[in-house]
């Protein structure tokens, strides 16, 4: 960090819903402490003052979907000491990466009456496909506690502690009875990284993969289990192909079960 002054924080947005940067504003109890510990140099959703780089820590939300964004992320990288991509869009291409399996010009025609006005790339891709990224914080949306852990770790100069185990372990820890075993509800928990607090099983529904692929997973075996529970192969394919569908392990699984 810069000597003798507060580290400079920047927040940049690409194609996204704004939810991950909103997570920072939703840290109601800690926001003012964070604002005191760092200089929030660039955060357009929160402040009108926009300071030029370089920045010590840059949080990047959203995926890359246009030529302009390709150029902009390169400039952001040049201006940033630590560049952290936050959320499923930035780390995996987001739900808008569903276009990667379709013909985007068809999409444009479906949505816009005058497609010529629209400029867009054929694929939605994660930040790391264009520039080196120092850390990826997963989630759709990211988890508040993990965001604060990340910022704290960077401020004191240690590795952030963000577990990569599956949702299953969290269910066991929380005492949530396995909904797949006990109720036969299809669940992506065994293949999905922890981070949400194993919310869905606790709410009586299957995990749908917000935090992307877990560190070790066996999607082929999980897919078979889901079929045993009554899903068709197309259902398995769609389940893997959502918010983190373009993350390699989920992408392969979705293609494997695609019929």
């Amino acid at each position: 960090m810069s000597e003798g002054q507060k580290p400079r924080l920047a927040v940049f947005k690409f194609a996204s819903c704004d939810g991950c940067q909103l997570t920072l504003l939703d840290c109601e109890d800690d926001l003012l402490a964070i604002a005191g510990a760092v200089e929030i140099a660039y955060f357009v959703e929160a402040r009108r003052r926009m300071l030029d780089g370089p920045y010590d820590v840059t949080l990047v939300e959203g995926s890359i979907t246009t030529d302009e964004e390709v150029e902009r992320i390169k400039e952001v990288r040049r201006q940033s000491r630590f560049l952290i991509s936050i959320g499923a869009c930035a780390t995996a291409g987001g739900i808008q990466a569903l276009r990667n399996w379709a013909d985007v010009s068809e999409y444009t025609q479906l949505v816009y009456a005058t497609p010529d006005f629209i400029s867009t790339l054929a694929e939605s891709r994660p930040i790391s496909d264009y520039v080196p990224v120092d850390f990826e914080l997963r989630g759709c949306p990211i988890n508040k506690g993990q965001l604060i852990e990340l910022i704290t770790a960077l401020l004191i100069g240690r590795q952030p502690r963000v577990p990569a185990h599956s949702v299953c372990l969290d269910c066991k820890r929380q005492g949530t009875v396995c909904i797949m075993v006990a109720q036969g509800i299809p669940c992506l928990g065994p293949a999905t990284q922890s981070g949400c607090g194993a919310l869905c099983p606790a709410y009586n529904r299957g995990c749908y993969g917000c935090f992307g692929p877990a560190e070790t997973l066996n999607p082929a075996s999980l897919g078979q289990q889901l079929i045993t529970l009554g899903w068709k192969e197309a259902d398995v394919s769609r389940a893997f192909r959502s918010f983190n569908g373009y993350a390699p392990a989920f992408r392969e699984a979705s293609e494997q079960f695609e019929k």
């Binding site: 947005k13 194609a15 819903c17 704004d18 939810g19 940067q21 909103l22 997570t23 504003l25 939703d26 109601e28 109890d29 926001l31 003012l32 604002a35 357009v44 959703e45 929160a46 402040r47 009108r48 003052r49 926009m50 979907t65 246009t66 302009e68 964004e69 987001g94 739900i95 808008q96 569903l98 276009r99 379709a102 068809e106 999409y107 444009t108 025609q109 479906l110 949505v111 816009y112 009456a113 005058t114 006005f117 629209i118 867009t120 939605s124 759709c140 949306p141 949400c196 919310l199 869905c200 606790a202 709410y203 009586n204 529904r205 749908y208 917000c210 259902d235 769609r238 959502s242 918010f243």
Partner: protein
Amino acid sequence: MTEKHINVDYLARVEGEGALRVKILDAQVTDVQLNIFEPPRFFEAFLRGRGYQETIDIVARICGICPVAYQMSAAHALEKALGVTPPEGVRPLRRLLYLGEWIESHGLHLFMLHLPDFLGYESAIEMAGIPELRPLVEQGLRLKKTGNQLMTVIGGREIHPISVCAGGFYRAPRPAQLQALAPDLEWGLETAVETVRWAADLHYPDFEADYEFVSLSHPDEYPINEGHIISSSGLDISMEEYEDHFSEIHVAHSNALQSRYVNGSGEGGSYLVGPLARVNLNFAKLSPTAQETAREIGFSVPERNPFKSLLARGLELIHAFDESLDIIRHYEEPRPSRTKLPARLTPGEGMHATEAPRGLLYHRYRVDENGLITFAKIVAPTSQNLKRIEDDLWQYVPGVMDLPLEEATLRCEQLVRSYDPCISCATHFLKLDIERT
């Protein structure tokens, strides 16, 4: 010939990416463009072929600030399409979840996005660094937090909640979980009343426009999830008739479609949705405390000053706290929490509109016998307001263009921010019917 430009390359303190361009030639405004450069994400296209329950999770991702609005419009539209009625007790719980989102979104906008303009600061972060203003910012954050707490208890988390489904809720909270929030909501109610009283004395630029207000209306309650669509010029239609009266136009400078109100002669005009429209059209349905506070500060309808949408948001905050407390007092856990749907369905089409924090949010879906979406159309509040924002600027700029450029620019930004535009929302919807000339 003197040429002057008011340009804002990247509008701050709004959700999403937009720019503002105003051109003035010889003291005449010659062009106004709200340029939406937020890239499109094509939700309506990729929803085709997805399951109806997945759709509720997917449309939430259109907007991190108002995911519940998308889930609510979608759940109701899909239930209509599939002919399913949720169990008793789901209705008030959905209202409560939505009120949580109103509190969070209005709290965020009022204190952090809009208020700095009125007090002469560039952000709430700057305000927090000034000792006498810090308590105000802290109050705003705590107010916003109470809304987030409501959403977290009912929805699992505040951004992209996970409990809503077609048919009801995957799980409903226990009464004790909601009752535990009552003290914070009571604090919120008092604080919202104080905030509105305090905000009444802010300086509001002297400006009025001749708005066509559009919102839902319900015979018994302040409109949120149900009702019919009305306007200040006397329109009164069912949700099913929405597309007969409102159309969307794609303009070159924007990745968002702009909506027009189509009148009898077939001409399209702009219209206003959101808190100011709702309060104007539904004042008598606001909670007694909200109405009393409005009278106390001299806020009466019709109110046509867009800057005073800050007060409209404040009044809706009072209402939201009031009604939340009321729902919690009478809450009984719905059992079951949802009506389950059969695997084999009757294909159908459903359209529904709800009141998002920023205004009317319309969805229409067609679903096939396997529960897969074959058609989706979504019209976001901000795309409905875009044309109205430009019309306001045409009228407002002549009154401020002689000010120093920096000041004139700030005033224009303040006007745009009055709408609480959500540009992320506005770029993702539009029209699926292809119309070519």
